[in-house]
């Protein structure tokens, strides 16, 4: 039984920084839980609290039925994979994998068997007598995984294990991780700031910000039903377009556009006079000159980024952008940030098929799908109406989800 129960975890550092602020979370036996959030949100500190590498200021950590809050890391029956691998440089791969077992007094024959099994599982058989210096980044990462696997703990803790790998290798190791979890079925807590990793690996993911959990749910639910602006903006790449809109006379008004709210049916009644409208870039569709749509907007294209499989189109609208402090952090990593700063309105993004007709400085007409729009309360940031397709046909092709 390796269910993990976090009860009101509080971690405050001596300098007064509260890295984890009252987190309660239950992770089921065998579940793959991802802690995801921007840098500094407290996800790694929370993981270190679970590992026992940081003392919690308040709250309790349960692994199974045991309260391990004050138990040393070595006695928690956990294994951890570190962001920087943390292999022992003076030991061979074999000794690195065997070290934890040796310290725990495992019999020699058992150690040899477990090392061989981990090596076979991760394709490390030919590297067992090499030292970390003679390994590539990907191989070191696999050794770090092997070290954790050989221990056969009740919980795996992984702290951004793929962040030092190049993009191609990351995709491969990510698939390996998913396969390993499928085979081993051990409870895993995985920390990442990369939402693609979170969405692909997680059974459930906890989105964190400011030391608190914003939402815990399956990747699909996080994408389709974000509880607030933060989760909505964080999940999805490029981020959701967020802009202020008014509800007047049965219409939704923003940037000179007036869209009939009767397209939303009874849901329209839930909307207050002022809302934050959220539109995912992949839910905008380009309209031909003779095509019409119930909800459509027109704009001049500012920048086109052709990514091969898809095209990102940036266009300004004369609307008020919604940029709460925490959302600015999220957008900082995106090229959009520079564009937002440009002095021609708020820059929105559309994610269109690869062969989109769009060219720079061209006027573009885009269809919005009423059922795929999100509405948030501008005062609290909470979600009033989440974009939910009534059927799969309603989701624009070819981009049918949050994945790249």
């Amino acid at each position: 039984m390796s269910r993990i129960d976090l009860q009101d975890i509080l971690k405050e550092f001596p300098n007064g920084v509260r890295a984890v602020d009252g987190v309660s979370l239950t992770i089921d036996d065998g579940e793959f839980m991802v802690l995801v959030g921007p840098s500094g949100c407290g996800k790694t500190t929370l993981l270190r609290c679970i590992a026992g590498l940081e003392e919690v200021t308040d709250g309790a950590v349960f692994i199974g039925d045991r309260d391990v809050t004050d138990v040393a890391p070595k006695d928690r029956d956990i294994a951890m994979v570190f962001q920087n691998y943390a292999l022992y440089p003076h030991m061979t791969v074999r000794r690195n994998i065997a070290f934890g077992l040796k310290v725990h007094g495992t019999p020699r024959a058992e150690i040899a068997a477990r090392v061989a099994e981990a090596a076979r599982l991760l394709g490390l058989e030919d590297l067992l007598d090499r030292r970390p210096l003679a390994l590539s980044g990907g191989q070191r990462q696999r050794v770090a995984m092997g070290r954790a696997i050989a221990r056969r703990p009740v919980v795996y803790l992984m702290d951004e294990p793929l962040s030092n790998l190049d993009a191609k290798l990351r995709v491969r190791v990510r698939a390996d991780l998913a396969r390993l979890h499928e085979q081993l079925g051990v409870t895993t807590i995985y920390v990442t700031h990369d939402q693609v990793e979170a969405m692909t690996l997680a059974d459930r993911a906890a989105v964190m910000n400011g030391g608190q959990i914003q939402q815990v749910d399956t990747p699909q639910e996080l994408y389709w039903s974000p509880v607030n602006l933060f989760v909505a903006a964080f999940i999805g790449s490029p981020s959701m377009n967020l802009l202020e809109a008014r509800v007047e006379g049965g219409n939704l008004k923003f940037g000179g556009f007036s869209l009939p709210l009767d397209e939303l049916g009874d849901n329209a009644r839930k909307l207050p006079p002022r809302v934050v409208l959220g539109i995912r870039p992949e839910h905008l569709t380009e309209l031909g000159s003779d095509e019409t749509a119930p909800w459509s907007i027109e704009a001049d294209v500012s920048v086109v980024e052709n990514l091969g499989a898809e095209t990102l189109v940036f266009f300004p609208l004369d609307v008020t952008a919604v940029e709460p402090d925490e959302l600015v952090d999220i957008r900082e990593g995106e090229e959009q940030a520079g564009l937002i700063a440009a002095d021609h309105g708020t820059m929105l993004t559309a994610r269109l098929p690869s062969m989109a007709r769009t060219a720079t400085r061209k006027r573009i007409r885009l269809a919005l799908h009423p059922n795929l729009c999100y509405f948030f309360d501008p005062a609290t940031g909470s979600c009033i109406l989440a974009g939910r397709p009534r059927s799969a046909d309603e989701i624009p092709l070819p981009v049918a989800g949050p994945l790249q």
Partner: protein, 300 residues
């Protein structure tokens, strides 16, 4: 016949630019080398003179020709097997005393440095400052106190003081190790902790094996220091226990017994032999100095 004369292009090739720059570079280098050679000569000339003087006839004094003819290599065998000053015996004593002080000093300093670098404790920085402060107390002050202390506890004429010095570590070395361990990847501590290591095991099995370069540096500094010690060996050890340093400083007399004269060449031959072990020790550890693999297990 007319010929076409092409205008001569100014050569802007990297080779030419390099050559032009290299003239000033050569001048600068020459100046640097001349300074270095001059400084090196200041250190090497006395040793070279000592070596050549050790090959003179054993009655010779300090004067005379610089390069002796013939070379009296027998001075070395005489110095080695001088009847009342058994070189091998005192060499053994010196190796023993040096090891007795150096090995524990290096290990305890490493452990203290590890503690200062990694162990969070109230008053740690204050304690560290106090420890560093002890290095500013003049030797003349501590030396008398230490001597009387050893006299009081009857440790004179024993090797215990060297072992006790070893156990009490060395402030300079502690500082050296602390700085080294502060740059050690913290992830290794965390990994060791998760793997089941306590602090001592982390130090012994993770930190020490990855500290070969700094251990070599500390061993060389402390070892050579203790090898050359004259004062403590003279004060605390009797004639049978003492080390080579006081013996060589006393000098060799020929012929042994009464009516003898001070033999400069044999004394210098003894001094030359006395310098060989630390040189060998240095060359033995020299490879370790350049080795630094501690960050090869982590990325970032």
């Amino acid at each position: 016949m007319s010929s076409l004369t092409l205008p001569r292009l100014r050569d802007k090739s990297p080779r030419r630019r390099r050559r032009r720059r290299s003239r000033s570079w050569v001048l600068g280098r020459a100046l640097v080398y001349a300074t270095v050679l001059l400084l090196a000569a200041a250190f090497v000339v006395p040793v070279l003179w000592g070596f050549l003087a050790s090959l003179r006839q054993h009655q010779a004094g300090v004067g005379g020709s610089i390069v002796p003819n013939p070379l009296h290599w027998e001075n070395y065998s005489r110095a080695w097997s001088y009847p009342s000053l058994s070189f091998p015996h005192y060499l053994k004593n010196t190796v023993f005393v040096t090891s007795l002080a150096t090995i524990p000093t290096v290990l305890t300093s490493a452990m203290a440095g590890f503690g200062f670098a990694r162990h969070r404790a109230r008053g740690r920085n204050l304690l560290f400052l106090f420890m560093i402060g002890t290095t500013f107390v003049p030797f003349a002050v501590t030396f008398l106190m230490s001597y009387f202390l050893f006299l009081q506890v009857h440790l004179v004429d024993t090797y215990w003081p060297w072992f006790l010095w070893g156990l009490s570590a060395n402030a300079g070395m502690i500082f050296l190790f602390r700085q080294f361990y502060m740059n050690f990847p913290r992830e290794l501590d965390d990994a060791a902790s998760i793997d089941g290591c306590g602090r001592l095991r982390t130090f012994v099995q993770i930190y020490l094996p990855n500290s070969t370069s700094i251990l070599a540096v500390a061993s060389i500094i402390m070892g050579i220091g203790w090898w050359g010690d004259y004062i403590w060996a003279s004060l605390l050890l009797n004639n049978h226990q003492t080390t080579l340093s006081p013996i060589i400083a006393t000098g060799y007399y020929e012929p042994p017994g009464s009516n003898s004269f001070f033999s400069v060449p044999e004394t210098l031959a003894g001094a030359m032999m006395y310098t060989i072990p630390p040189l060998l020790f240095f060359f033995l550890l020299q490879k370790k100095l350049a080795r630094g693999i501690v960050t090869t297990g982590v990325k970032g």
